[in-house]
Structure formats: structure tokens, C-alpha cells
Symmetry: C2
């Protein structure tokens, strides 16, 4: 018998690092109806690079627009082939993106890169989250903010990152002043997409999401929004102007940014006037899509991780050093959103496979599977190896991009699977360090839900995480938690639910398989973690004798000096 109730749908559009995904779900239970992915066509895997500067990573804003059209149109077309779907029954759209990915725009909100005068200028494009060109500026902002009366860094872990909004803008001012002068304002990608879709591109008024503002731009109600013009002037003249054209009052993602314009709607085969939610970052909607709630840590594990928690507003929450941010409403509206993370996880495993795995493991089949098969036979502690998971710096808890990887304990018999396992264990120790930091500051972790490619596919890694953290590891039911989280906000702005939590209850869940800690392994790992912390503290924090905390930094400084000298030749 046919169901009599009409099914309703929401669309989540998830802008990742290399591609954009559109996901159409049933708002009743989160069932995935159709999905489509579009790879950004520009640069290498969608990223514009500079062979002379490994820190540079930009994107072409035109790819984002084309990506919306292509992915949503294809997903709608695919959904139409399923029973029960009709475009008229789509009730809302939510958007998430990478970040901080600010875009310099003109008075009309048009990205400078889309104007002929700037289309070849890398500085005029979107400054992708993983662009680290502003690391000197980040250090300067940290130093100046630390001395500020308002304590601007108190809500973002005490250290300003080279990945974030003001570091990038300040670096642009110093290295590409023509672009800086031509930019009327800087708009985060997460805000740009809803603005474009709803036809309100005016930088002075387009809705700015609290997620990007609070986590990356030092926005907080405590000091009246963005940092003061006086403080920004201390960083560089002209930065006050960026503040002037930053719309007042950043809002959470359960708010409507506007309605889908007729032009866009037509292009993708949806009705015009559809509510579009305020944008948020992928990790934040991913946490929503994984069912985050107070006491639940959501780990989004991919090339890097984001470790997300929420806490009720009535909690007396201290400033937690090393977190990327504590922002009211950034994940679930009405709760504190807490973000932590590891700078590299899957990226470290991929690095090892690409650069140090012998033919035995790479000649045939998936090298990760081949290495895992052997690594899985080892017992904790058996290799005598210990690694630090800092090949891409350390995000939480040290907030220091100038840290690097380390491996200790190798003998003349150390094998590739032993090193591979040590690297997996190192990322697990990094994960545990984050859990401990949350709990040290009163944010209890009662449940861990993992999502992302590694959580989905890699039982070996998940079991080590369970053993190292001595806690069960659950895995999110959806494989597309970021897009699902965005769809949840689409469902809320579309009126299917009043509150985000209600939508989550219906639309999210975990898989039946739970990785449970094994007692013997957990015991050995507890001991190994003690040694990990010894290395962590010696190389990552000041206060050890012999200036060990300088070793990694001196090596990087020397490397940069030598490379600069080589470039000059």
C-alpha cells in the first residue's frame, strides 16, 4: 500500500577541499535519496598552487558557483528517478564549506578573481583553509592580541592560526597591496555561497555565519563583534575598512539567509523561493550530522581531524587553551560549539605510503590494506617504536604549525608495517590528548562518535583508537555527515523542525558496530602514552632544559633559509 503522507526533502551542499557534494535526504528520518559530487576543475585537484611557495593554496571562486549548479542539478535529476521524490517537495537548503576560506570581493560582492583585471592574480582568489602563507602574520596577531585589553584570543585557544581570516588578509595587504586595496570587503566562502544563492551579495548586509566569524575572525559578543578598529589598526592600516564592511550580528545556521533566486532555482531544477540556511563550516555541520549533543565528542577523521563538542549555554565554561574555538551557536544553535583537531591523520598514512613504503607493499593492491594486514599482527609495544603525529604541525593542544614529525626507537630490524602502525598509534595518542584536554577543563566526554572516510573503512585504525583512548568508538550511520548536517539546517529553515536537536534525533544515528577497548592493549598503551607525553611536552612546550622545544623550529628555519638561498640562485 502506498503511504498517504507526502515525503519532504532537504538538500545539504558540502564544499570540500577538492570537490562539492550535494545530498538530498528525507527530512523524516535522514534517508539519503540522491547525491552527486563535482570536482573543482581549476588547478591541481581544485587547488591553485605556487611551485615556489609550498604554503600557498588558493581556489577559483567560479568553481564554487559552477559546482553548485552541477552537483545540485545532478542530484535532483537522480532523485527524480526515485519513487516519491518531487522537486516541489524540497523544503530547504543548507550549506557548509571549508574554512577559513576568505574571498576578496568588490563593492557588489563579486569576487575579485572573477573580474578580468584580477583573474590571473592568485591573491585575488579564495584563500583556501590550508593556505599557510600568513604564518608570520599569525604569530604577529597572536603576540598583539595577547597584549590586548579584551583578550581576543581567549575564545580560540590562545593562539591565532595562519589558516585564519585576519592572517590571510594581513598577508595579502603586505604581499599583494593592489588586491588588498581593490577589495571592498572579505567574505568567507561559507557566507558567500548563501549570499550568492539568495541574491544578497552586498558585503555590508549579507548574513555572516557565527561559525566562521566566531572561530576564525575573533568575533565575540563579549567585545562587541569583531576586534576593535583600534586593535586592527595596530595590525595594519586599512584593516579597519574590512571591519566596516562586515555585516553586523553574526548568526547561527538554523537561521534563514534568504530565498533561492529564480535564476539559480531554474538552473538546478528546484522551485524558486526555497529557504537557504546561513552557512557553516563542514566540520560543524558534520558534527550535527553525526548526532552531536552534550557529552558526545564527534571526531571527523580524514586527512586531518576535527574534534567537536557542544556544551549547554548555562555551563560555566572556562577558556580552554589549545582549542580552535569556543563559539556560542557555532554547531548547535543555543549551545557552545567547541572545536579541536589534529593537523594531519590520514595525510600522515598517505605520506608514508607515498614516500617510504617498499615495493613489497605497493606493487599490488592497496598499499594501506597491505601494510595494515601486517601491522595488525603486531601487539602494542612490540615494535619498540613511538612517533609524534606532527608532520603537519600540531593544531590541538599546542596550536603550533612549526612542529614536525618524529620517530624514535628504530633498530636495524624495524619494518615498514611497524612504522605504519607507530604512525597510526601516534595519531591515536594525539586524539587522546584532545579528549584529556576537554576533560581537564570540565567538558566530560561520555561518548565518541567517529565519522569520515577512515572511521567508515578502517577497522584497524578504529580499534587502535579504542584501545589507546580506552573508550568505545562508535561510527556515524551516515557516510556524508557534513552534507547531512547541512540538510538538517535546510530542514529546520524549511520548517520541518523547530529546533536543530529535534531534527538530529530523527535524522541521525550510529552504526551497530562499536569498537570496544581491549584490556591488555589498553594497559600497554597507557604506558606508551606516558612516553608520548614526555616527547610531546619536551618538543612541543617550553620549559625543558636544553631548549629541546627549539629543535623542530630551528630545523624548519634552517630549511626555509636554505631553500630561499636556493631559489635566489
Amino acid at each position: 500500500m502506498a503511504k498517504s503522507t507526502v515525503r519532504r526533502f532537504a538538500i545539504g551542499v558540502d564544499y570540500g577541499t577538492n570537490s562539492v557534494r550535494a545530498l538530498i535526504v528525507d527530512v523524516a528520518d535522514g534517508t539519503e535519496v540522491a547525491t552527486d559530487v563535482y570536482d573543482y576543475p581549476s588547478g591541481k585537484d581544485g587547488i591553485l598552487l605556487d611551485p615556489k611557495d609550498p604554503n600557498l593554496a588558493r581556489q577559483n571562486p567560479a568553481d564554487y558557483i559552477e559546482g553548485f549548479y552541477r552537483s545540485v542539478r545532478a542530484a535532483v535529476a537522480a532523485a527524480k528517478r526515485k519513487p516519491g521524490f518531487r522537486p516541489e517537495n524540497v523544503i530547504g537548503i543548507g550549506i557548509d564549506t571549508t574554512g577559513s576560506t576568505p574571498i576578496p570581493v568588490d563593492r557588489e560582492g563579486t569576487p575579485l578573481a572573477m573580474k578580468p583585471a584580477f583573474e590571473k592574480n592568485l591573491a585575488a582568489h579564495a584563500w583556501l583553509w590550508k593556505d599557510h602563507t600568513g604564518h608570520a602574520e599569525a604569530a604577529e596577531i597572536t603576540a598583539k592580541a595577547a597584549g590586548s585589553r579584551e583578550n581576543y584570543l581567549s575564545k580560540c585557544g590562545g593562539t591565532y592560526s595562519s589558516e585564519w581570516y585576519w592572517s590571510k588578509i594581513l598577508h595579502c595587504k603586505r604581499t599583494a597591496p593592489k588586491v588588498f586595496d581593490a577589495a571592498y570587503a572579505w567574505v568567507e566562502l561559507a557566507d558567500f555561497i548563501p549570499a550568492f544563492l539568495t541574491g544578497n551579495l552586498d558585503p555590508d548586509t549579507l548574513p555572516r555565519g557565527i561559525c566562521a566569524a566566531g572561530h576564525k575572525a575573533m568575533y565575540h559578543e563579549q567585545w562587541g563583534g569583531l576586534p576593535s578598529k583600534g586593535f586592527l589598526a595596530k595590525l595594519g592600516s586599512g584593516l579597519g575598512r574590512v571591519r566596516d564592511h562586515y555585516s553586523a550580528g553574526a548568526v547561527p545556521a538554523d537561521q534563514k539567509a534568504g530565498e533561492l533566486t529564480a535564476e539559480v532555482a531554474k538552473k538546478v531544477g528546484l522551485p524558486p523561493g526555497l529557504p537557504v540556511a546561513v552557512g557553516a563550516f563542514d566540520a560543524h555541520t558534520g558534527a550535527v550530522g553525526a548526532g552531536i549533543k552534550p557529552g558526545t565528542l564527534v571526531k571527523i577523521i580524514g586527512t586531518s581531524t576535527c574534534d567537536m563538542m557542544v556544551a549547554p549555554m548555562e555551563t560555566e565554561l572556562p577558556d580552554i587553551p589549545g582549542l580552535c574555538g569556543i563559539v556560542p551557536g557555532s554547531i548547535i544553535p543555543g549551545m557552545y560549539g567547541l572545536e579541536a583537531g589534529q593537523s594531519a591523520v590520514g595525510d600522515i598514512f598517505n605520506w608514508f605510503v607515498s614516500h617510504l613504503a617498499p615495493a613489497k607493499y605497493t606493487a599490488k593492491g592497496d598499499p594501506h590494506v597491505n601494510l595494515t594486514k601486517e601491522a595488525d599482527k603486531l601487539k602494542p609495544g612490540e615494535s619498540g617504536l613511538l612517533a609524534l603525529d606532527w608532520n603537519n604541525g600540531n593544531r590541538t593542544i599546542l596550536v603550533d604549525p612549526l612542529l614536525s614529525g618524529m620517530l624514535v626507537g628504530q633498530t636495524l630490524h624495524t619494518t615498514a608495517p611497524e612504522v605504519y602502525r607507530a604512525l597510526v598509534e601516534a595519531t591515536a595518542f594525539g586524539a587522546l590528548t584532545i579528549i584529556k584536554r576537554f576533560e581537564e577543563y570540565g567538558v566530560g566526554v561520555r561518548e565518541v562518535v567517529n565519522c569520515g572516510g577512515i572511521a567508515e573503512k578502517n577497522a584497524f585504525v578504529m580499534q587502535i583508537y579504542a584501545d589507546v583512548c580506552d573508550r568505545p568508538m562508535k561510527v556515524s550511520r551516515s557516510a556524508q555527515t557534513c552534507a547531512l548536517g547541512s540538510a538538517i539546517f535546510g530542514a529546520v529553515v524549511g520548517g520541518a523542525y523547530k529546533k536543530t536537536e529535534q531534527a538530529q534525533k530523527k535524522m541521525t544515528g550510529v552504526k551497530p558496530t562499536v569498537y570496544r577497548p581491549r584490556k591488555a592493549a589498553a594497559k600497554v598503551y597507557a604506558e606508551l602514552y606516558g612516553l608520548y607525553r614526555t616527547l610531546h611536552d619536551a618538543f612541543g612546550t617550553a620549559g625543558f632544559s636544553g631548549r629541546l622545544d627549539r629543535v623542530m623550529k630551528d630545523l624548519i628555519a634552517m630549511r626555509d633559509r636554505v631553500r630561499k638561498g636556493l631559489r635566489k640562485k
Copy 2:
């Protein structure tokens, strides 16, 4: 025109880890006339192993005897095909071996392993230098000797090694008491070969070389030879007996051990009655063959290194901590012989190639050559990497087998050639640390002469050594310095020269190619060495906060515990 003078020849026989080499040279100028190598047939590459214990390494004494026959007979046969050689014109034979490689023997001096009752018993075989089963006993001897009145370790760097004579004998007593009880005495391989060749195998009287006695058995005239029976009794009952059957008065290698027996002479095609020199260790005769003299450091670079110096007896030589030994007459008779070394050099490069080099470098050609080609393009400091060269522990200056390798500075872009170069640099930093230790204690290094396979063939490694040490690196003219050094002692006992130095002047030399330090590279390496020393001191010595010096040891202890647990299953 034919020369009117009759050419005279000496034979050097060099017992290495996997094979024995016989070399016939012209005593006038060291010209190599013929050579032959015999691979030991027993075990894996001549070594008897125990799959359950990676520390165990034994050899079959029968291989040594067969090896003398085969290699010398073949070399003599080859020499006979050359103009001017006649067996009657051979004037003497010198012997060098690995060490400490003690052999348990019966009352007649027959190795127990050659008797039916013990031929399957690994403990009854020769305990190869690289057997580390006695590491606990070594630590115990160090502790007890440190508290002894005579300061028995003052001449061997302050730490007794698991590679040495008494560690091995004590370990045998504790783990194979039947062998220990059956052994009338323990004879070093370097003493056993001359004893066998000259027919004087009686343990109570066969000549014992000062080289083995002084460097490995705590023999010193200052305390009347071997350590006292009282001290040995403190280590274990029965060790006094080993002392009782250790012939009095250890002698240098320019002394005659005896004359070649008719039986052996006949087997190899030489005249009976030929003088045979007292045996010494390969590194020591290698130093002689490379032309060692006061102020000249001879580095014998292979899988590990030996770093040898001599100092005139009139020098006021302090005890130098971390050296393997300071023994009068152990290299050149009448001078102090000083021995230092690195536990692994070529072994580390081989380990990397075997276990961590990707197919790109191993698929075709020599992986070392392929990696070197890329590594050679890098500038010092360019990779941002730094390694410790401790994959096999640290011999000089830390004398600690329970240290391990370390690599720091890796990013997500670190390549295999970068790691390979960092490992080469690490061994160079280790080499510099030894030079500095000599000089800190007043033994000036005015010249460095390198020999061994790596010095012969690897310009890349030699250039890095020159840059890191900021000194010219010379290479010995002979590629067989150990055998040449033995032949030099053969020439001396044969009467061609009165003193070893005179023979050296005529029979040794360096190659015309000298690796000279490059100023810019030396400057960067001076800075990198500072960081190396920071890591070296933090992980290798006590006194840092946070007990960093325990990290490697705790990892090894954990590994051993886990592996032991696995074996029990």
C-alpha cells in the same frame, strides 16, 4: 732487465664476520700479489642464529680452520701464477680476527663445539663479537667494576660492553652451565688461530695478544694482568678458573707466536716453520694497514666503524670516557692504542634500503646508488630533517647498546632520499662526536684516513663526512687494510723490518683523491651539529628534565616484555 734482488712476501689472514680473506703482499712496498676469500659455510652468512633471540650470534670454529686452508691455499696458488712469486720467499704470516669472539675450549685447547657431545650446542661455539646475549651481565660487570678498588674500567671507557669477553663467559655460566663447566678455558679467536697454526693450543701457555686482552678482558699491567680472582669471584664462582688458565703476559702483534706446523704448511703449499705473528683484531691491523701514526685517526667504515688512534707512550694520557679501550701496544707496539667506534653506519643505510625505500629506488639498479643520486642534489639543511645514528645503540661516546634510532623534522612532503641523506649525515655527526672526544682529552687529530668499503666506493658519504667534520678526508691506498696490516706484522716477525712503523712507511699510503670540506656546507652543518648534540645529550645522557634519557630504554624494555609474552603463548 730482470731485477736482481729476490722479492720477499708476507701473508695477512683476515677473519671477518662472514668470511676469511688471505692476502699476499710484497714486503718491499706492500704491493698486493694475490688474494682469496672463503665464505664461512655454517648458519646464515656464516653466523649461527637463534630465531627466538635476536641478540644471539655464534660461529662454528671448524669454519675458521677450513677457512685458513681454503683461502691461503687459493691465494698461494694464484700468486704462483704471477711472475716473481715463490712460496719459499714468503717470510711470515700475520693474523687478525673479529673480536671479542671467545671460544670455550677443553684442556687440550680443542673448541668444545668440535667435540661430538657439544656440536649441536650453540653455547659451545664461538661467541661472535656481535652476540649481545650478555647485555644484563655487561651492566652487572660495569656496576661491580665501577665499585672496585682497581678501577678496572678506566682503560676501556668506563662501561663494560655486552660484546666483550667476560659478559659472554658470565652469560654462558648462567644460561648454559654444562658448557661453562666443561670449558677448561676461553680463548679469543685472535689467539686461537695462531695457536692452531703453530701447534701450541695449550690454554695455559698459548700466547695471548695484548689487543684482545687489553681491549676486551680488562687486562692491564697496572693491576697485574686480568682482574683479580677476588673480583671475578664476585661476578660468579668459577670465573677465577678462567683466569687461572689464561696464559700470563699478553704480547703485541710484532711478536712471534710460533712457527707454522708441517701439517698446516703442507695443506696450504707453504714451507713449514714460517714465523706466525701474535694475533690482533681486524680494526687494529686495519689501522696499521692504513698507515696509522700519532695524530692520524684511522676510520674503518663498514657496517659499523672503528675509529683508531695511537699515542706515544711518553704522552700523559688521561682515561678517556666512552672509548672502547686505551691499551699499550694494541695497535702499534710501543704506543698506546686507542679504539673508539660507531655501532652502525653502513648497517643503517642498508636497513633503510631494505625496509623503507620505495620501488622507485629499488626496482632497477643499486638502491644505494639511486637514492644517493637524489640525496646528493640536496643542500645541507634543506630537508629540515635530523637523525640520531643509534639504530644499533651507541658505542662511542655513550657506550650504551640500549639506545635506538630517531628521526625528527619529517613533514607530509619528506622524501626517501631526504631521509637517506639525513641518515648519512647522522653517522657523520656521530663521527664528529668521536673526533671531538679525542681532542677534548688532548689527543689531537691532525689527519683522518678512511678505509673500508664505504670509504672506497662512496664519494657522497665521504664528502658529507668532510663537510660535517670540517676536515679533509683521505682514503687508504689499500682496499684490504686489515689483511695488509696483518701482513705487515708477518713481515716484521719474518725479519724484513725491525719495527712496525718502518714497515708501515714502506708498505702503506693514501689515494690521491682527498675529500675537502666545502665552506658553505660546513657552516650549515656546524649549526645542525648543535641540534644533533641537543638530541644526543637529551636522549643519551641523564640530567635532562622529564627523564628523556629513559624514553629509548623504556621502549626497548616494553618491546622485550611484549615479545617475551608472545613467545610464552
